[in-house]
Symmetry: D2
């Protein structure tokens, strides 16, 4: 017997099957045979909770470092694939994540593409990312953006390897069929502005008198959010002792020229949990990737418990209840597709209080 | 030899393959083996140009009408599946289209869901759609919205069948993992406002003095755009004889409370082509579904030519060059995911003039 | 003895007076001697409630028609001066109102200025206003905008005089010291678009596909709001019988490309009061000019009662309680500086219900 | 003979004069007798260029300090009156400026009002301003906002006097007839948040995850812009050697939650001029008040030349050409009503390059 959500696919002495076969030839399908899987009562995808320990990632990356150069690989990255979405290069249904390694002396050559990328430095200090003529020196915890269609390249002139988390909207751009890519034809782009110029110019609660943000380029003109400054803000705010039951103290990175999320397609967050703090179970429709920057603890995601410490990465699918328990004072970075859902009127959260 | 876009997957005497196998167990993949298919130089999907003649659709629908009731089916719809995306209930990579039939005396019962839907009446007059307590009587060419999470039901109290085109953002909501659905538990919702109230209240270049559009519900409060009024606007504007080489005379339906697209996830357009007019080849990143309301002609889409007349439906994939040639004065309705791409900074067009 | 709001101006054996005299020479004043009049507990200006009967205005205008031509006068207008603000050409502290007469065969020559103007036709039919290359034929009740810095001229090719209400932001632009004016050097501007083009193009719940509203020109691209259409909306909405206790049924004219007020500096409203309806006392910080289009009744404004009938004009100062009583079904047009106050975070209302 | 802009007031053998007298009794005036002064070809007010040397202000303030306490005065301020607008408590047509002195041990008691205020510390260090439960310690060059309708009080617990520049929108609020004022009934408001909380919470390129800026309170939630941080931004940006011919290096203070000006009614700017730099003559419609924070030089404003050094204040009227010449490296703070003009579509500049 057909359930409410799914009318009888078959019936009428095989007449329906014959009909389905016939219309199939005209590139048509009967909605009632698939409706229940297309429009679900609640979010329901193959995406699963999962965690990657950084030690394991690093071990694999060291091996990768011996197998291929950054230049040959264009980007030497190990993709973190959601166990429920294998073969799709996705960490959630809409987002991609990977860990990138640049060895001393290496260069990841200049290109640009419609995909937006975030970089969160996990280990190593002093390598650089160049964006639109400006170089930034990367330190652990720094959050760096390479905006859609801006030239970017990476290089490591230090004597230690650097590892960072890459978050990109690759699946989203693929889904929208809007990918463009160009290679500069040179390892490095010319440098035309002093280091730190963008942060000073756009990120000091001032803006150039004649600057107007463009709807066509909605990414933050600040592309470097140094951890030192963000961490200092968390420290200052912790003094107010005003903890949110679901989040502890959670901030979102913004485009200071608009107050919008720093990137149009991905939200990025920084979160402080005091030692011993346990959050209330919370769920939202933006599947979220977390990376631990300091401390340690565990998160309950649906029926799974994931332990985490510095540099570990884990993912919570859409609408799965999430709660965190911090053993020591902990800092979590996270990202999701929330700006997309907000702009489309689709985002929803459940704070578990009613 | 590896191309520029795709470094050698294999190499080093099988060491790479062994590595790929090993990391696979930890839910990791080497980016360089897939990068070329993830970030492409130009949009590149399986979506294909295709056209459906309405006569064929109607013939199949008449048969469907005998096989299943609207109530059993919940919605008696034949999905138009893109030939390049079979089995996915998609007409483009991100959108769904189908044709719905409601027979005299039938009801499509009240439900609501996060998916937004557009209805374009193809044939039949006088059946109704009810949205949020208001009924609208449907006529050919009328464009009707059932916004995200609003109760809606359809009924036909006339003595002729009604056919309309459904356009929904089902694949998008599925991709974002943000589907919610509720059934009202009754065939029809209670009617609390006079017919035509919303159009008068919000669509007369006036707004209620205390009305403020909500960022959380970005859909137009006008949910009925009668063809008579839109057609009259086209007629009036045709007098200016100011034809766009790519589009003839093309307007987009808007939310008059914001000037944004009428729906947050789908753009909808109405377009007049004088008899004999041929448009310049044009391409854009929003794959577009067209439906002919009047006239007839043909469109060249990439390498394909599609003939169309009244009520025929055809689809142009992302970034395929499109040109139209109207034999008689023609009116085309169309829809796409352009608002999504615009909000994310991804939309791009090529007017073929440079 | 000094009140709380005003410290002793004098004191200290004349030392203060001596001090005031001394600093006066350096273009300085002691704030404490004037603070109480600068920052008041509530709005407190010289603006007074007042009403002008149209019969009296017309009588004066007929006389003016014999004294000066429209062309010699540039605009043959009688300014309605608030009795509390005589000599300042103001009807409220920030706005100007007047009644304009164009006789058969006359022309008010083309000019443009930074001041925005609204026209509300009071009597006469078929004279025209031309704006930016498009002519509009004026009928009673029509609301017409001549936006900031757009060329405009008026002409009367009929055989009856036309009278309309002019509302301008003259005092505001004067206050901001931002007035610019140019004369075209011709009576009439060239006509380049068919009559009715703008209304069809921007005011039909559709917008041209490549049109984007400009922050620099925030006025509605629809410059003609015919009374027939607005009145029809009121009629339709009256069927819902959903009367606001303070306003009856009150709509605001909008820019359909943004949902904002039709003009950046002036709000315009249209309001239906059923016969016998009496509104609750209401006050707001935007002093408001009312013009009766149909019906008749009286308004209580502060301690004054003003009787009104068709074409009569009256003004309610900021923060004065206002209530209306309609004898017959009445339509009131009104305008104020509310958009300015809203944008600056200053607007406040009191619905008298708490 | 009447000029183009001003038709003959008199004429017709005294008939016109008789008419003017008659309509005057009905609160009407003939527009053509005043039009030329209401709508001018260019901005044309009584506002004049003028400069106040801080030494003279301080001398007067010291004397004021002996004549009245901060508490008795409510605010011990000397108003800087534009010489062309005497008796109106205005420094420009729309803005107010004054210099405030709080002596050691004094308190300026808590109140709130619809007027927005900016404070720019000129001399003295360590006194405080409290806003909405948070205290800020004031240092020279700091820019502090007391937003519309927020409780604020000032106190000086140090052993040195503090002087700051007050800029308020008093004339604007008066003009719009929208003034509200309340006294708390206590010298100081209760302190509920740690010092520096707002700057960390909203001014670190991050925002609280659940914070949404409100259209009704458009002022920056950051109310303290410490000079140390702003000066550091200027220093960093000076390294780019990218000088604007009209402005040197000029930034505007912003609300980082929206990218808009920090206050809805007043723009605030910070500007660096290298020693020896001379700017090109520039004019704009926002009359501007300048205060020198460092360096020295002179400005040519219309036909006047004004010399300035640290803490000196000067004013440039609307549309007067302004050029600066810096003798030593100089920093200028400035403020104007530009946000008002921008929002109303009235702002205009002339960079002198065409």
């Amino acid at each position: 017997m057909a359930s409410r959500d799914e009318p009888a696919k078959a019936g009428g002495n095989g007449k329906r099957e014959a009909f389905y076969e016939k219309i199939d030839k005209s590139n048509m399908t009967a909605l009632w045979t698939v409706l229940g899987s297309l429009i679900t009562r609640e979010p329901k995808s193959a995406c699963r909770p999962f965690g990657w320990r950084f030690d394991a990632i690093r071990e694999a990356m060291v091996e990768a470092g011996a197998l291929i150069t950054a230049k040959e690989a264009e980007r030497r990255v190990l993709v973190l694939e959601n166990p429920g979405l294998r073969g799709q290069s996705k960490i959630t249904t809409s987002l991609y994540a990977g860990v990138q390694l640049v060895l001393p002396g290496e260069v990841a050559p200049a290109h640009r593409h419609s995909q937006s990328a975030l970089r969160l430095v996990l280990e190593g200090k002093g390598a650089h990312t160049a964006v639109e003529g400006e170089k930034v020196m990367m330190s652990p915890g720094d959050f760096i953006i390479t905006p859609s269609m801006t030239w970017h390249d990476h290089g490591n002139e230090t004597d230690e390897p650097i590892y960072w988390l890459d978050g990109l909207d690759i699946p989203l751009v693929q889904f929208l069929d809007a990918s463009f890519l160009e290679h500069l034809g040179a390892d490095e782009q010319p440098i035309t502005r002093p280091n730190g110029d963008s942060l000073a110019r756009y990120g000091s609660n001032l803006l150039p008198v004649d600057f107007h943000p463009s709807a066509a380029s909605p990414t933050s003109p600040v592309f470097w959010y140094p951890y030192a400054r963000s961490r200092e803000a968390l420290d200052q705010l912790a003094r107010a002792q005003d903890w949110d039951p679901c989040h502890g103290l959670r901030l979102r990175y913004v485009n200071p020229a608009t107050g919008e999320h720093a990137m149009p397609t991905m939200a990025t967050f920084l979160q402080l949990l005091p030692g011993g703090f346990a959050t209330r179970r919370y769920r939202c429709t933006d599947a979220t990737v977390f990376a631990c920057l300091e401390g340690g603890g565990r998160s309950r995601i649906g029926e799974e418990t994931i332990e985490w410490g510095p540099r570990d990465i884990f993912v919570a699918p859409s609408w799965f209840p999430v709660s965190h328990e911090a053993e020591a004072e902990s800092v979590l970075f996270s990202f999701s597709d929330r700006p997309v859902q907000e702009k489309l009127g689709l985002w929803r959260e459940d704070r578990g209080n009613g």
